[in-house]
């Protein structure tokens, strides 16, 4: 996999410092720290209930950790909300699909263009020229993403009617439409067949390669993770038990015991 990268891996863009999160008495994450470098593909793996999704939800501001901080683009963010993170250039997808079910594929992706929409409701109601101009720009960009993901033929279908694999693609599209610098993918390949997984990998790598978008993904399929990610962090019972390149993680004894498993 020695090829010339258009976007060289740079300095840390996202830093998670000593995060602890608990729900009542249940500790989901304990004192976890790791970082994500600019333009890299970073994977978070771990067995069920290891706190992977909770971790993403802390970074994105859906959960408020009791302890620890998140720094993004060199700035420590005191009061994280999904909205603030979106404005700073962090977008995400969800584990159990959080699409706008009654809206078409195109409309879903257009919502991703929200932060590139500056006109207010009054201007929209009156259809001022600048609204039309902006709408056209947003539509063009959305169409670009739709053809990039090869889903042109379903763009007017309500998302709720699509099969699972396609919905996952639309969700990726919506995250892409934000033109964010970093995208968090929560199990982008869960429940997909081999072909769909291969497609999804291709898209993730293509986005990373062509746009330089930093990708953070949670995944169960070990083969996939080891193939596409630059670095992997392994969580178990809410703690980091391994962090490094796929090869380093593979040879880490703690990881082997906890996750890859001893041979049965």
């Amino acid at each position: 996999m020695e090829y010339e990268r258009k976007f060289k891996i740079g300095k840390p863009i996202l830093e998670v410092n000593n995060i602890s999160l608990s729900f009542g008495g249940v500790k989901a994450i304990t004192d976890t720290s790791f970082n994500v470098l600019e333009h890299e593909v970073r994977a978070i793996i771990g067995p069920n209930g290891a706190g992977k999704s909770s971790m993403l939800n802390c970074i994105n501001g859906i959960y408020k950790p009791q302890q620890g901080t998140v720094s993004f683009k060199g700035k420590q963010i005191p009061d994280i909300t999904p909205n603030i993170m979106a404005q700073m250039g962090l977008s995400r997808t969800f584990q159990n699909l959080a699409l706008f079910k009654r809206m078409s594929v195109l409309d879903n992706i257009l919502v991703g263009r929200k932060l590139h929409t500056k006109t207010n409701f009054l201007e929209v109601a009156l259809q001022l020229p600048k609204v039309k101009k902006e709408e056209k720009l947003n539509r063009d960009r959305s169409e670009e993403i739709i053809s990039f993901l090869e889903i042109e033929d379903i763009k007017d279908t309500p998302v709720g009617k699509l099969p699972y694999g396609l919905q996952k693609k639309v969700e990726l599209g919506r995250a892409l439409a934000t033109d964010s610098t970093i995208i968090l993918l929560d199990e982008p390949m869960a429940g997909m067949n081999v072909e769909e997984k291969r497609d999804m990998c291709r898209f993730i790598l293509k986005v990373n390669d062509e746009l330089g978008t930093t990708m953070v993904l949670i995944e169960h399929d070990m083969g996939v993770v080891m193939d596409i990610s630059d670095r992997v962090v392994v969580l178990d019972y809410g703690k980091v038990i391994g962090d490094g390149t796929p090869d380093e993680v593979r040879s880490n004894q703690k990881v082997i015991d906890a996750y890859l498993g001893v041979e049965h």
């Binding site: 999904p82 909205n83 706008f100 079910k101 009654r102 919502v111 929409t117 409701f121 929209v124 934000t178």
Partner: protein, 353 residues
């Protein structure tokens, strides 16, 4: 279909043209009885406008609100006071300002939507219904210290010309409704509407895309209340021709809710279909009672039957077609199209053989 003008397709423009020709030329030429204007067309337009308001907050933004009549009352009494106390504003100016006053109430009573949802929000928004009516009753100033309880609405004067005949009032309602409907459609199809629907379908995802829940919900409540306020002012000045808080009771709120649901949640044309159905159905039942049974059925029984049928329809629609009559209409059109194309295909095939 490719949009020609922004998000509008050729079909939309044709529909608009047909509606305009029907309402401006055909109806005034062929309908001459006053009853149709004063009892059906004018209230239909007013209530359809209020239903669009309800659609914005409930159908598009997904916030279960019940208090449209309260905002209508706010609009109606604001209109009365504005014409009385600030005559320089003129009719159109007063109409806009009374809409804005209702919108202010909308923002106030929309704030609970940030914390509660579903049926609890419905209960919270009921406060608007009772508070506004109570306020108007409690403080005599709103009614200009009129002791009779029913105040006669002032005559409508636009640019020095009186609009007092039923036909003239119909045109006033039609003009206001048309303009506001077009604005609502622009919003619903544009980025504003997408934000509303994103909040409705999945609020967490919407927030992660940068849609502010606070701003979007409050905005929807404000716009909704504006529409209800303008509708209430028209309802009082063109239909009731009087102002009394009792006219805007909870029953009217429920009526608008029914219009919204039966017409089809999340559609603008559904507002008109729903309003027409709920207004015309009792008329139809009365006609059946008088002409088929020749008055053998008591009027009170007929009105009870009406309630039973409405209730039944609500349940049926909620179960089988939650998107209401607008969707039903779409389905029928779709079926027709496939039927026509398949018969065309059959005939062309039989010709070949």
């Amino acid at each position: 279909m490719k949009p020609i003008f922004m998000t509008y397709t050729k079909k939309d423009l044709i529909n608009l043209a047909v509606c305009m020709v029907l309402s401006v030329l055909v109806i005034p030429t062929f309908i001459t009885t006053e009853y149709w204007y004063t009892s059906i067309l004018i209230p239909w337009l007013c209530l359809a406008l209020a239903t669009i308001g309800q659609q914005i907050v409930m159908g598009y933004t997904g916030q279960l609100a019940l208090g449209a009549a309260g905002f209508m009352a706010a609009g109606a009494f604001a209109m009365f006071n504005l014409i009385l106390r600030v005559p320089d504003l003129g009719f159109v100016g007063s109409l806009i300002v009374s809409g804005l006053i209702a919108a202010a109430f909308g923002i106030l009573f929309g704030l609970p939507s940030l914390k509660v949802r579903g049926i609890y929000l419905m209960v919270a928004t009921l406060a608007s219904q009772f508070f506004i009516i109570w306020m108007i009753d409690k403080f005599g100033w709103f009614k200009n210290y009129d002791s009779s309880g029913i105040i006669t609405a002032q005559d409508i004067v636009i640019l020095g010309k009186p609009f007092t005949t039923p036909l003239a009032m119909y045109f006033v309602c039609l003009a206001v409704t048309t303009v506001l409907t077009l604005l609502a459609m622009n919003m619903a199809r544009g980025s504003t509407g997408r934000n509303w629907m994103a909040v409705r379908d999945m609020d967490i995802a919407a927030e992660s895309m940068g849609v502010s829940l606070l701003k979007t919900k409050v905005q929807a409540f404000a716009i909704s209340a504006f529409y209800c306020g303008v509708a209430g002012a028209l309802f009082a000045f063109c239909y009731l021709k009087s102002l009394e808080p009792v006219a805007f009771d909870i029953k009217l709120s429920f009526k608008i809710l029914f219009m919204c649901i039966l017409g089809g949640l999340g559609t603008i044309n559904g507002a008109f279909i729903g309003a027409a159905f709920i207004l015309l159905f009792p008329v139809f039942l009365n006609a059946v009672g008088n002409n088929v049974f020749h008055g053998a059925i008591d009027a009170t029984i007929i009105s009870s039957i009406e309630q039973v049928i409405f209730g039944g329809l609500m349940i049926i629609f909620m179960i089988y077609e939650p998107l209401g009559m607008a969707k039903l209409w779409e389905n029928i059109k779709q079926k027709w199209k496939t039927k026509i194309s398949s018969t065309n295909l059959k005939s062309s095939l039989s010709k070949k053989t």
